[in-house]
C-alpha cells in the first residue's frame, strides 16, 4: 500500500516536471471565435494541416466559440491557462472595436500577438443595373444625394471602412446595417441598395459571374482574384482597409514556449502546402511578424477610437 502511495505521489509530482521539460505535452487547443465551416475556422484547419509537419507528434484541437462578433472567443483566449497549450485566432476590426466600445473584458495586453496569417481586403460593390462604374462616378452620385450603403453590423470592418471612406472623400452615406454578407449580397443583386462595402471573398464570385459590379478594392495592390478591379488609390482615393486573421496566445506564457510558437507560425506561413490551401480557398496571404501585427492592431484601435468618439454606438 505504501509503495503504491509513493508511486502515486511520484507520478503527481513528476507530471508537471514532465510538462515543463517537454512542450507540448498535450494537445494544443486552437480557439476559433466563429462557427465551424466559416473562413476563420477553415484558416485554423489548414494551419493545423501544415503545422503537424513541423511539430512531430503534436496534436491540435479546434474549439469553436462563436458569438457576439467574436467577443466570446476573444475573451476565452485571454482567460485561457497560459501554459502554451491554448492559442487562438483573432480577426479585425472586431478584436479592437469591442475594446473601443468598452464591452470587452480584455485589452490588447491580454494577448501575446504571434503574427498574422491571411487577410480579406474590403471592396465597394454596386448592383449591375447601377449607372456607377468607377469611384469618380460613385463620389459624384454620393455628393448629389446620400447613397444607401449596406455594411455588416456597427463596429465591423465594413463599417470602419465606410467611415474611413466618408472622411477621405468628404461625403456622407446613408448607412444600412445588415446581419452579414448574405443580406448584403441579396441587397446588391436585387438592386435594393446603392452600394455595399464588404470583403473580397464575399463578392468575388458575383463579380466574375456578372451579377454585381465591384468598382474599387480598398487595398494597396490589386488582387490576383479580381485583376481587373482597380484599387481605390489608383482612382485617387487612398483608403485601405482589410480584415486580417492572425494568431495570438494568452499573455504571460514562458518565453521559450512563445519563441517556439512564433517560430511555428513563421514556418507555416511559408509552407508550400499552406500556400496552396490558401489559394484553393481564395484567401490572400498577409504574413506579419508578431511585432508588426501588434503595431498594426494598435494603430487600428486608435483609428477605430476616433470614429467611436465622434459617434459612439
Amino acid at each position: 500500500m505504501k509503495k503504491l502511495l509513493a508511486l502515486l505521489m511520484a507520478l503527481v509530482f513528476a507530471f508537471p516536471m514532465y510538462a515543463m521539460a517537454e512542450y507540448p505535452s498535450k494537445p494544443i487547443t486552437i480557439v476559433v471565435p466563429s462557427k465551424a465551416g466559416g473562413s476563420t475556422d477553415t484558416t485554423a484547419r489548414i494551419f493545423i494541416n501544415a503545422a503537424k509537419k513541423y511539430w512531430n507528434g503534436a496534436n491540435f484541437v479546434v474549439q469553436n466559440i462563436p458569438g457576439s462578433g467574436g467577443q466570446k472567443g476573444f475573451e476565452a483566449i485571454a482567460r485561457a491557462k497560459n501554459d502554451g497549450h491554448t492559442i487562438g485566432l483573432i480577426f479585425t476590426t472586431q478584436i479592437v472595436s469591442h475594446v473601443v466600445s468598452k464591452r470587452a473584458r480584455y485589452t490588447l495586453d491580454s494577448f501575446h500577438v504571434m503574427g498574422n496569417c491571411v487577410d480579406d481586403p474590403l471592396l465597394i460593390a454596386v448592383p449591375k443595373e447601377s449607372p456607377i462604374t468607377d469611384l469618380a462616378g460613385f463620389i459624384k452620385a454620393a455628393k448629389e444625394n446620400p447613397l444607401t450603403v449596406a455594411v455588416n453590423g456597427i463596429g465591423s470592418d465594413d463599417f470602419i471602412a465606410a467611415k474611413k471612406f466618408e472622411k477621405k472623400a468628404g461625403v456622407e452615406f446613408n448607412l444600412l446595417p445588415t446581419k452579414g454578407s448574405t443580406e448584403q449580397k441579396a441587397l446588391i443583386l436585387g438592386n435594393h441598395a446603392d452600394a455595399s462595402i464588404m470583403n473580397l471573398s464575399q463578392m468575388q464570385a458575383q463579380h466574375k459571374a456578372g451579377t454585381a459590379r465591384v468598382i474599387a478594392l480598398l487595398n494597396k495592390e490589386r488582387s490576383q482574384v479580381l485583376p481587373d478591379v482597380k484599387t481605390a488609390a489608383e482612382q485617387g482615393y487612398d483608403v485601405n482597409m482589410t480584415a486580417t486573421r492572425g494568431f495570438v496566445a494568452p499573455a504571460g506564457i514562458d518565453k521559450d514556449i512563445l519563441a517556439k510558437l512564433d517560430d511555428l507560425l513563421v514556418k507555416v506561413n511559408n509552407d508550400p502546402d499552406f500556400i496552396a490551401d490558401c489559394k484553393k480557398n481564395v484567401y490572400s496571404r498577409l504574413p506579419m511578424s508578431g511585432a508588426d501585427y501588434r503595431t498594426y492592431l494598435e494603430g487600428l484601435q486608435v483609428e477605430t477610437q476616433s470614429f467611436y468618439d465622434k459617434n459612439p454606438w
Partner: protein
Amino acid sequence: MILESLSSLMAPMPLLAVLLGTVSGVVIGGMPGLTATMAVALLIPVTFTLDPLIGLVLMGGVYCGAMYGGSIPAILLRTPGTPAAVATALEGYPMTQQGRAGLALKVSVIASCVGGVFSTIILLILAPILAQFALTFGPPEYFLLAILGLAGLVSMTDEKTGLIKSLISGIIGLIIAVVGTDPISGMLRYTAGLTDLYDGVAFMPVLIGMFSISQMLTLTGKKSVVDNAELVTEIKREPLPKGIFKFISMGSFTGTLVGILPGEGATIAAFLSYNIARRRSKKPELFGNGNPEGIAAAEAGNNGCVGGSLVPTLTLGIPGNSVAAALLGGLLVHGLIPGPELFTTYGPMTYAFIFSLFIANIIFLILGLYMAPYFARISLTPTELLIPVVCLFSVLGSYSMNNSVLDVFLCLLFGVGAVLLHKTGFSLGALILGLILGPIAETGFAQALIMSRGSAAIFFESPQALALWLITFLLLVPPLLNIIKKHRMKSA
C-alpha cells in the same frame, strides 16, 4: 450532361455516401439539440479529403434526413428534434396520446418525401428563374412576410387558448426577441452585462426547454406517454385519411417558396404552411387535437424548404438558410463557385448532387414507412427511463450549441416557464412564432425606413408587398368574422 451526372452518381461510393448521409441525418435530426446546420458544418472538414461529389452528396443526404428526422420525437414525445418540427409536434403529439402514432409517423414521412421531391424538381427545372424572383424581396417585403407569419397567431387560437391568450403568448415571444444587440444602432438591450446575451437569447436552448424539458416535467406524473399498450399495437394499420394530399401539396408549395427567399428558414416555412392548412381545412376544430392534415402541411413545408433553399445558394451564392450556408462553405472548399458556371462547366457535379437529393428522399421514405410501427413503440417507453435520457440530451444539446453554461440555465428556466404557461392555457407555438419572427420584422422595418429615408410608402410600393398585404388580410378576416359571430350568438 444529365446522363453523365447520373452515371457518376450511380457508382457504389456515391450511393453509399447518400445512404450514410441520410440515415445519420435522420438520427441527428431526431436528437434534441443536434440540428442539420450543425451536422453539415461538422462534415465540411471531413469532406476536405473526400472526392468533391462524395462530400457533396453526403452533406445533401444529411440535410434531407435531418429535416425529416426532427419530426419523429416531435410526434412521439412532443420534443421536436429540430426547430422546424415544432408545428409537427402541435398535431403529432395529441395523435400519439390517442394511440395513433403509427398513422402520424406515416403521414409525416410521406409528406416529408413529397415536399422534398417537389422542391428538388423545382430546383432542377426552375432554379435560375426563381432566383430572380427571390431577389425582388427587399427589406420591406421581409417585414411584411414576418407580419404575415405573425398573423398566424390568430389562427393558433382554439377553445383551450383564447385569442387574447395566444396574442399575449406571441407578444411574450416578441419581448424575449428584443434582448441582445440592436441590429441598427449596435446598442445593447437588456443583456445584463452578460456576453452570452449580446447575440440575443439563443433560440435552440429556449426551444429545447419549452418543449423537451417542460414535456418531461409534465410526464413525471405518468407511467408512459400512452398508458394503453394495446392501443398502439392495434391500430397501426390505419389508412391514410382522405384529402390529405391537398394539404401535402399546399405545404410543398409554401415550403419551396419560403425556402427560396434568402435568410428565411424551414421553421417559418413549416409554421406558415401549417397556418394556411388550418385556414383551409374543413375540420379546423380538430387542429390542436391531433389532425393529420396539420402534420402533412408542416412536414411537406419544412422538407420543401430543402430544394428551395438551394435555389439561391447554387445560382447566386446567397444561402437560403443556415444549413445552405454551411453547404455553400462546402462547395467553395472544392472550388465550386456558385453561379451560371455551376450549371455548365461543373454541370455533371451539380446535377449529380441534385439527383442525389431525390435518392435521399426515397431512402428516408422507405426507412420511415418500414420503421414507423417500431418507432411508434417509443411512446410506450416507461417514463423512468425516458425522462433521464431526454433530459440528458436536452442539457447537452443546449450547451453544445454555443458552448455556453448560461444556455443550460435558460433551457431549464424556459422549461419550468413553459409548464406554467401550458397549464394556464397559453399557446407555446405562438410564443415560438413571436421569438422567431420578432428579429426579422424588426430588422426589415428599420432597414426599409433607412432605405426610404423615413417614408412608410415603401411598404406599399412593390407588387410583392401588395400581394403580402392581401394574403395577410385574407388570413385575418375569416377568424375575425367568426369571433364577431360567436359574440353575437352569446349576447343574443
